[in-house]
Amino acid sequence: SLSADAKSRPNHEVSADGTVLVKNLLKSTVAASTHELMKEGIDWCLSVFIDNSGVVAFDDEHAVCFKCETHNRPSAIEPYGGAATGIGGCIRDVIGTGLGAKPIAATDVFCVAPPDVAEVPAGCLDPRRVLTQVVAGVRDYGNRMGIPTLNGAVWFDDAYVGNPLVYCGCIGLMPRWAVKGRVEKGDRIVALGGRTGRDGIHGATFSSAELTDKHADEFSHAVQIGNAITEKKLLDAVMALRDAEGGCLYRGITDCGAGGFSSAVGEMAREHGATVHLERAPTKYDGLSPTEVWISEAQERLVLAVPAENLERIAATCADHGVEWCELGEFGSAGGDLVLLWHGTEVGRLSDRFLHGAIPMPVREATWDPAWAAQSRATTRQPKFAAGGRFRLGGDPADMLKVLDELLGHPNLASKAWIIRQYDHEVQGGSVLKPLVGVDIPGSGGGPGDAAVIRPKAGSSRALAIANGLATGLAADPYVMAIAAIDECVRNLVCVGADPTRIAILDNFCWPSCKDPRNMGALVRAAEGCYDAAKAYRTPFISGKDSLNNQFVTESGRVIQIPPTLLISGFAPVERDDRAVSMDAKRSGTRLVAVGVTSGRLGGSHFSLVAGVSGAAAALPEPSLSAGPAAAAAVARAIAAGLVLSAHDCSDGGLLCAAAEMAFSGGLGLSLDLAALPVDGTPSLAARCFAEDPSRYLLEVAEESLPRLGEALGGVPFAVIGTFNADPALRLVDGAASAEVPVAALAARWSGGLSW
């Protein structure tokens, strides 16, 4: 059975033989949690799962929306263009939400193979080229659009060699009156922006195909061609039309993404049908067939529903902004059908009932096989510190510091400055906490902030924190992985001072083929983890997307499946910008406090990658749906009470890495003794240092604030584990033994780990 408690879950039917039928998996898990939370009183979700992005209240006047997408397939063939049109499409989703939102931030998460991957099969690009070009694509599109790309992550695993994952997110700000549009019968269908060409034909089909060594030849036509300035002009024009004197000049807007006009007009025609004159679309060149016009995924196009009397003003504004437009037809048709015409001849007709209500729901088989899952996630790489590796690892502090040095240089953990600083992450002038914070570390310019914070409205000090959670190390059990990813996203937001009662999240599943019942079972496990965690943390999902066929077939027929990968993106308001908290240690003489419980379970940790683990130590951490939300609330109380000088999420690399990051980001030394650390069982020193148990935080607190901290944290386990000092060394004490390393050396290792 996939989950012991299937009976109590929404839309789960349990048969006599123990099999469970789940009707519409994501609606019964991810979306169900949101609708239940809204019924239970969460009243700040304004538009969820129905529009191009999810919308929540920001303040009384404004709402914020968030969308995250993947653009994996095109990025595998043409990483620069694939990533650029990925971010471009996500930005258009935000512009096309409600009656139009202004994009205020972008996020990017990449999952790629490391440059030293064992094998680059025929048909795959070199992983270093993939990452470099993907970064360049996001850089050139985001920078030209003037949208700060300010949060992200990079995760390396050999299995991404044929299927790199490119997640692009975008956040928008809109007046609350613009949260919803409504198309009326007779409104003109106005297409705005770029011209239609043959580029991107069947992009949507391609995005679900399995990749092989021949895909670059078969699918090159499906890669879209982006132009950021065309989209910037489009954005400027739309904002001018939305905020026109006398009111918004259109009644509905949506972007042309997958499926092009067909899905954009199709979606908007839901109530009234539509009559479309396909020959009216401006094209890049002659010779397009009506089918090509209808399904082209040419970029930078939006569809508006415009009352006929506003067409003249639309024309004038578009002319000033240098934006092309055309009247494709009108909403409404006899019988409410969607009718396509080509020079007056009917070339297509679909009924509304068929178009919006007749999608066949396939039944997929799912099984959950933990042994297979663990086996399929086992790495074949030889750990550096394991028996037979380059080093022998003992249990004393000196060995821990060796591992620390190795982990800080691991590309998952190392500074992403070479990426971050190629992005204009401060454009629009709203930045409060940048991605890199703290002292000016050579080669990085700051330490690893937990979440970005911006002030989206000029003149208002109310701020917005943006973060993500990714726990792919725990993919051997996607249920655990999903909870851990949500917990990490919550922790990141709480650490910068965000309000944990106002966190909204997004799901993006990237999975190997779900035709395999075992992968499908893994997806069910993850979806149920999402439901349980969203309910427990009271963090509603507001939008999501999935990509469920990420595997590569090599020339010789070997199948490379990606690890099940779940990105959780999240955002939450911060009451006032100047109350935000950064992760860099502030003063010598202050105490380091660990919040939450550490176990001996090292399965899926970065430590396991460099040192290898076996036996009981190889077990995965066990997230607690009661302790996690309690710890988040407790830390938020302590921060709100002004007791916390710096706060850092304890995740990738474990406690010792997080503590070292706080020290070197503050240019301070740190003396650590983990004897008092709250633990479950009797974890070894290595587990205390490097276990990646969820729901743990590190806080810098002044000595005199400790009594009040205890009150603020309530019953949540915590302990003082160290003292920051001016002596620039990290010192680890374990009983009579101790060892130390200069923080500058740790900073250099971290700063240089991914400096391409």
């Binding site: 850089r139 920078n143 030209r144 659009m145 003037g146 132009n227 950021a228 300035i229 910037k232 002009k233 400027d236 000033d320 902004h321 240098g322 971050i420 600083r421 190629q422 992005y423 204009d424 992450h425 401060e426 454009v427 629009q428 002038g429 930045s431 409060v432 906490l433 940048k434 890199l436 914070v437 703290g438 002292v439 000016d440 310019g445 700051g446 002030r455 000029a458 003149g459 910008d577 100047d578 935000a580 908290v581 950064s582 860099d584 502030k586 710096s646 503050g666």
Partner: protein, 276 residues
Amino acid sequence: MVSMQEETFGYSPRALVITAPGINCDLELCDAFALAGATVETELLSRLARDPSRLDRVELIGLPGGFSYGDDIAAGRIMGQLIRQTIYPALAAAIERGVPMITPCNGFQIAVQAGLLPGPATGARWPERPAMPTVALTQNATARFNDIWTRVEIPRDTKCVWTRGLRFAAGTDLLPSAHGEGRLVADDETIESLRANGQVAVRYAEGDNFNGSLDRIAGICDPSGLVFGLMPHPERYTRWTQHPRWTRLPAAARQGFPPGLAMFRNAVAHVAAARV
């Protein structure tokens, strides 16, 4: 229209921010003018070109950063050409009237291409036909786009009405940059004359000249000191929580106006004083 937030000089001058396709730092530039006490409007170059006389009534001008027209051909080239062909006479007339103009980042690249900087020789009138560029802003020495805060210095002898007289405390004496083509180069003669005429308005501090500009020049002005072009973005440093290390700054260091805002206040004060 951005409403005036704070009237500090007894008079709120009218500022005009000029935008075009690909310009993307216009809103924060408007915000900076407004915070300094000006009343701001934005206009598209395409509309101004139809009616350049709108420039006759403005008292401050801003040309924002971004990627005007995609920076196709070269950074700022297309917008610079369009300005030369349309509103250059109106801009030159405004400057002769005493209107301060700020052009950060892409604005600087445009101003150079449009013949607005480094401007005519000291004492000379603005030429009828825009001058050919004598300084260039070329690819950073790092060979990539850099988003970075650097320490900066204001030369004591600068004529720039935006930066003259400004002194910043250590730890706050920074400006943010975000560009790929900001390395200022020119022939020796031009650099020497910029130096000799007090036209160097702001320099990167020793050790912080990341883009490799000659003489560490981050920004220059015309001989009147009114037209100020610089690669950094003072409009992104108008409140303390924009400082990259504000959470580490002692409360005392966060008093007063952040350096970016101080530059805008300098210019607004200049306009207010000139009017009296």
